[in-house]
Every structure is written in C-alpha cells, then in structure tokens.
C-alpha cells in the first residue's frame, strides 16, 4: 500500500491533540482530506462523524423519481411506482409479459414476431426468480405498487399494526394533552433538542407509572402500614386503557405464515434442502415478520434514498447544501476542507525508484504500458534497522502563498509506553521503534492559480516571516543513527507551481515492527486580505488564529497522521537490495 496521510478532526473535543497513532482507536479521529468539511465561521475542520445532517429530499434510487416529503411517510419510505427488489438475490426486478400459450406439442414453438402478452410479472434477470412463482401477476405493466397495495394492506402483520395504532391512539392523544397542560415532567432543558408533540408525549409516557406494576419505592415499605395511597389510584385511573386483543392468537399465528411457533419447528423437521429456508439476508429487508419458507418470499418495494445537507455542529452554519434535483452532483454550498488545507501526499523515493524501473522494464520488454501497482510493496518494503528518506508533497489550494511548518507530535512517544507494553507483540520496544526527522523551519508554498505563470526563481521569503532561512534538520525523537548513506535528503527538495516537496528521514530501530506511523502537526500562515468580523475566535478548536503581524497574516494548525507503511522485521530474511 502506498503511504497515506489522513487528517485529524477534533469532533468538538476539548482536547484537540489527537490520540497516538499506534492505538487502533485513533483511526476514528483521522480521515482522508477529501471527506472533511471546513466551517469558516468557527475556522475549524469538521467530519462526517460530527456534522449534523438533515434530509433535503427523497428519491427512488432505481426510477430516480423525486418523492415529495409529504408522501414519503404514507408510502412507507419505499418506491410507490414500479420498482421492486428481488426477494431472492435483492437485484432490481423488471416487469415482463408472459409467453404466448404453449401449443403443447412438447417442442419449443417460436411464432414469428413473438410479442409478450398479459399477464405481466416481475422477473429477476440475475437469479431468474419471478413473481408468478409466488402467485403475483399484473394485468397491466404500470402502477405495480398500486396494484399490490391491497395485498400489502391486507397482510396480517399490517392489519395487526393498524389495530395497535388504533388501540393506542386515545392514550397518545391524552398524554400529548396532559404534557401540554404541564402535568408531565419538564422536557429536557436543552434548547438544542427540538421537541414536538410526539417526543413530548413519549417522554411523558415513559415518566409515568406502568399500570398494574407497583412502582419501586424504598419508602413505600415503611409507609405501607398507613394504607393504600390515594394518589396512586389517581394515576391508575389516568392510564387505564382497555386490554388489547390481537387479531390473531399468537399460538395460531404461525399457521398464517407470520413466523415462529410449532408450524416452523414442524417445517424444519421435514426439511429436505437448505434452499427451502429463506436465509437471514432475504428476510432481513422485510419490514414485517416473514415466513421461513423461501417459496413465500414476496417482492419488496425499493427503499428510498435521500439527499442531505450538513451543518456545523457548533455554529449550525450550512457546510453542504446540495442542489434540489436528485441526480445533480452540484452544490449550492460546499465548504470542503480540501479548499482550505494544503493537500499532503507522502512517498518513499526508494519505492518509486523500484516502481519506475519496473514500469520501464516492462514497457520495453512487452511494449505495453504498465501502471504502477501495489504489488511492488514487497520489493520496496522498509526493513528494521535501516534508515529511509521520505517525501511529503504539500499542495496549496489557496490563491495566496502560504508558509508551512511541520512538527512531529512528541506526545505519542510517552503515550506509547503504557499502552504498547501489553499489546500483541510483547517484545515491542518501549520507546517508539523509529525516529522521524522533518525540516524544522517553515517553508513557503506558492499560490494556487488556474493558469500557471510561475517563474523558476521563486523567492523563498514570504512576507518576511522567516528570520532564519536555513532549512536545518531537527531530530525530533533523535537516537543514534543506523547506516546513514552519504547524503541526507531532508529540507526542500522541489518547488513547482503550488506544490512544494520536502524531504524527511525515518530511522527504524533494529527490533522494530508494525507500521511507520506518526502524528504530524501542520501549521500554515496565510495572508488574510479582509479581517472580516466573521473571523471570530472561539476557543473550542485548535484553529486558533494567531495574528503574527496583525491583521495581514493568520495561522491555522491541524494534525495529520502519516503512515509510511509496514516495517519488515529483522527475523524475516530478505535479500532484496535497497536503493
């Protein structure tokens, strides 16, 4: 696998320092850059785990019909037109006409210009299940869901549910009423939680005593001598409701194919082939209790999909607002992190060399083009006890030049001690098994431009931020070096357009194993043309704007995790020459 760089989202956490990278749980805090959002209001990174989401529209993923929100509930969140899922393999079903009648002479009789005729049925062109197998046919090939509506509504489960709803209706209405008159406990005080009548009724219902069940009360025992309490009687009266009588007795329910009971046991006992029993996945998608028999599976209306807008969890400003049309891929508002933070890609030059050589060789030999594949990993792995250079390419998405400073997060060295000792490999060293060096000084990246008009002699100074222009190398977690080859490849390697490539180095310990994976703090300084009032500083994110030369420049800092790939342990003898 090629080296990866993922970005940290603090998800509103108080502690903005990311977890150490060797913990498996740290992967939840890091995301690829292209999945992240950026809130301009809070000046902070947001991810799909922390944004608040709201539905902006519904559509059927098969016929692409945009369903008005008003009818979604009535149609039970599924396509109410002609879209059905195969109950056997979950492919989309097609509606097809029947064959002309068989003359019955045993031979296949194909009349000229066969045109299908009614009745129509649903047909799966993947597993060849068809709805005529379960007795479902249609007189016309349109409005299928409508034609099936009466079956759906008359299903025993559906009727039972309607009956239940009817039964509880007065109670729900009563409790909604009582909650509004102030009898019920106060709803949660947070103004963030929107309360409507249904949630209010539900919370009120939950807070009440259950009729017939004596509420546990430690004082009740001592108070028992005082006779039955009068207020309890009152609450019983309020909640009193007629006993619910189900349509079908549960004991006989399985006879109607609703699942469970003696019937199913008997059926299973006489089973001849596994295929006769519908598997879990086939029954899972159905809303109601389903029969165990494969032969009883019914086509399912396709569930609707939704388009969603996303909001910042802190300030509720919109980060993503899609266009109304279901199949449009454009957005009215799209604040993605890739437009704000520099894109960082990592590479191991020795891997690239191997891959390049391979590609060249194959091109010459077979005269066919060969893309660089992941298979080269084994040839170009990193061995324990050696030192490897690596490169980080940073691309600036802003229309202004930026200055970047990279720091390896130190905390993980100490944090690694207690947690790593008890892990899978007991001989894992107590210190991080590798040391990473990065250019310690800040370096510039040119502005992004649509048309590339760059001079080769791009000057290094960026609005006079850097006093010392020497790009030295700081040993962040320095230890004795292994076999260092002559030239060190740290510092700026290349500046081209809006991309600057810097070199780093990793010294891998002799007993190292696992991945070369470290957290890196990236802070960049950019020119802020308009110190607009929207740039409020709220302390909840690491995105603290430090005005170094107020008000022209600002600094933004974020964490990333760099994974250069697995270390090949010493024990494994390998003979490939490196570099």
């Amino acid at each position: 696998m090629a080296p990866t760089v993922d970005y940290h989202c603090p998800c509103l956490a108080q502690l903005s320092v990311p977890p150490p990278p060797h913990l498996p749980s740290s992967s939840y805090s890091f995301h690829p850059l292209h999945t992240l959002f950026f809130c301009e209001e809070c000046d902070a990174v947001r991810c799909n785990r922390c944004v608040s989401v709201e539905v902006s529209g519904y559509y059927c993923p098969n016929c692409l019909f945009e369903v008005p929100s008003a009818s979604v509930r009535a149609e039970k969140n599924r396509c109410a037109r002609n879209c059905f899922m195969c109950p056997n393999c979950r492919n989309t079903l097609s509606v097809v006409p029947s064959d002309p009648p068989d003359p019955g002479d045993g031979r296949l009789h194909i009349p000229i210009n066969t045109i299908g005729e009614p009745p129509f049925f649903l047909y799966c062109n993947h597993c060849r299940w068809d709805s005529a197998e379960v007795g479902i046919t249609f007189e016309k090939p349109t409005g299928l869901a409508g034609q099936l509506q009466k079956f759906e509504d008359s299903a025993p489960e559906s009727l039972e549910f309607e009956r239940l709803k009817e039964h509880f209706e007065p109670v729900v209405r009563a409790s909604a009423l009582s909650s509004s008159t102030g009898n019920a406990p106060a709803p949660p005080s947070s103004t963030r939680v929107r309360t409507n009548s249904i949630t209010a009724a539900a919370s009120a219902a939950l807070a009440r005593d259950i009729p017939g069940v004596v509420k546990y009360n430690p004082l009740a025992r001592s108070a028992r001598g005082g006779g039955p309490s009068k207020d309890k009687d009152k609450s019983v009266n309020r909640d009193e409701m007629p006993e619910y009588r189900s349509r079908v007795d549960i004991v006989s329910a399985s006879a109607h194919g609703t699942g469970g009971g003696e019937e199913d046991v008997e059926y299973m006992r006489h089973l001849e082939s596994v295929g006769e029993v519908a598997n879990l996945e086939q029954r899972w998608g159905s809303s109601w209790a389903v029969s165990l028999h494969t032969a009883d599976l019914k086509p399912l209306r396709i569930p609707l999909h939704s388009k969603r807008s996303k909001r910042c969890p802190a300030c509720a400003h919109i980060l993503i607002k899609p266009e109304q049309k279901a199949q449009s891929v454009r957005y009215k508002i799209k604040l993605v992190a890739a437009n704000y933070l520099p894109a960082i890609t990592a590479a191991l030059p020795h891997q690239l060399d191997v891959a390049n050589a391979e590609s060249t060789k194959r091109t010459l030999a077979k005269s066919t083009s060969v893309a660089v594949t992941d298979d080269d990993r084994n040839v170009a792995g990193m061995h324990a006890g050696k030192t490897y250079p690596f490169q980080l390419a940073l691309a600036n998405p802003l229309y202004d030049p930026i200055t970047v400073r990279l720091t390896v997060q130190r905390v993980h060295a100490s944090a690694a001690v207690p947690s790593s000792s008890g892990r899978a490999s007991p001989e894992k060293p107590r210190r991080p098994p590798f040391a990473v060096s990065l250019p310690s000084n800040s370096f510039p990246i040119a502005a992004f431009a649509e048309a590339w008009e760059y001079e080769d002699d791009e000057d290094d100074e960026m609005f006079g931020l850097d006093d010392d222009d020497e790009f030295g190398v700081a040993r962040v977690a320095g230890r004795e070096k292994g076999d260092t080859r002559g030239k060190l490849k740290t510092g700026i390697l290349e500046k081209k357009k809006n991309v600057t490539v810097v070199g780093g180095e990793v010294v891998i310990g002799k007993e190292a194993r696992g991945n070369v994976k470290f957290n890196m703090l990236v802070s960049y300084t950019y020119r802020s043309d308009d110190p607009s009032p929207s740039d409020s500083n709220d302390g909840e994110s690491i995105a603290s704007k430090v005005a170094t030369k107020p008000p022209e420049t600002k600094t933004f800092a974020f964490y990333t995790v760099v994974d250069l790939g697995p270390i090949i342990p010493r024990e494994e003898p390998r003979v490939e020459a490196e570099l």
Partner: protein, 188 residues
C-alpha cells in the same frame, strides 16, 4: 509526485485531439466510434463499433468523452434487445472523466461524467450509471440496473454500498487529468 506510466511510441497512435489508442486494441467499426479527446484505449481492449443499429445513414455506436480510460483487456459493446418484435443494438454513450479498470466488460446504455468502474467488473446490458458514481472491483451489475449519482455499488448482483463524498467530482477530475499527464512516451 506520481511516477509516469510509460508506453512505447510504437504501440500507441495519438490523434490530433490527444486520444491515445493502442495498436494492440481491437477496434471494430471505427467509423462508428467517437472519442472525445485525451482518451486512452489500452492494449487488448475490444471496442465493438460494428454492432450498429440497423437502418440507413451514419450511426454512432459508442461515444466516449474526454479524459476517459478504457483499461487493458476491457470489452466495450453496445447493448441489444427486441423492441416491439424488432431486434436491434442500441448506442452506448459515455461521458467525460470515466475510467474503466482492466478486464471489465461494459454493455451499458449510458454512463455519466466522472464515473469510476473498477477492474474485472461486468456492467450488464442497458445499465444506466449517473454522474460521479463508482463501481467497485469485481462487481457484477445485472442488466437494466440504474446506479444513482454519487453512489458506490459493489458485489454480485451489485448493490448500493454507500454515498460517495461531496468532493468526488473534483477528485475524479483531478485523477483522470493526472493520469493522462502521467501516461507518457518512453524515450529510449
């Protein structure tokens, strides 16, 4: 930083609009095929422009947009059916920035823009793939399937897995352009 992908000058024909077509690809009925420009047809690919709609006049069978890639060993073939008792092949239209992985077979009706199809996929007849969708490696997409915009499909039969990120269009566009830049003649 991505390394170049080399090809030998002898193998590829480059057109005025920057299309690069391997001489080792099988192009049947080339007069019925349109390439939008900067599109790459890799070696051992088969493109069936000969399976045209019956009737007089010029008929476009397969059209591909700009910055497309037809991977090695892919088969591109228009879909067929009988309609009101008459048999016919129907044209296949593919948008811009569409990459098709190696050894996939495509018999789709339409494929939108910025679509990625993985390796070893089978895209069944009359499939409709909307913009910015992705089909994972090894998927079997049955005939007549509709893949909505920004959806990831995978499996056999291919089904919806997840919504793709909002930045998909930009990512795919960058990647397909970069691929074309990386695809270079090897100077010996």
């Amino acid at each position: 930083m991505d390394p170049p992908i080399y090809y030998s000058k002898a193998e590829y024909i480059e057109t005025d609009t920057g299309n690069k077509v391997s001489r080792r690809a099988t192009i049947a009925g080339p007069q019925n095929i349109i390439l939008g420009g900067k599109t790459i047809i890799s070696s051992a690919a088969i493109i069936r422009g000969d399976l045209r709609r019956t009737g007089a006049g010029h008929a476009v069978v397969i059209s591909l947009g700009r910055y497309c890639l037809v991977g090695e060993g892919c088969v591109m073939r228009p879909p067929y059916k009988t309609y009101r008792g008459n048999f016919n092949y129907y044209p296949m239209k593919i948008g811009d920035h569409v990459h098709i992985g190696a050894n996939s077979v495509v018999e789709a009706a339409t494929i939108g823009n910025h679509v990625e199809i993985g390796k070893n996929c089978v895209i069944g007849k009359f499939t409709i793939i909307k913009d910015c969708a992705r089909v994972a490696d090894g998927s079997i997409v049955p005939p007549n399937t509709v893949i909505p915009a920004l959806a990831l499909f995978a499996g056999s039969p291919a089904r919806f897995v997840e919504d793709l990120p909002e930045s998909t269009q930009d990512n795919v566009e960058t990647q397909t352009k970069r691929y074309y830049t990386r695809f270079q003649v090897l100077d010996q």
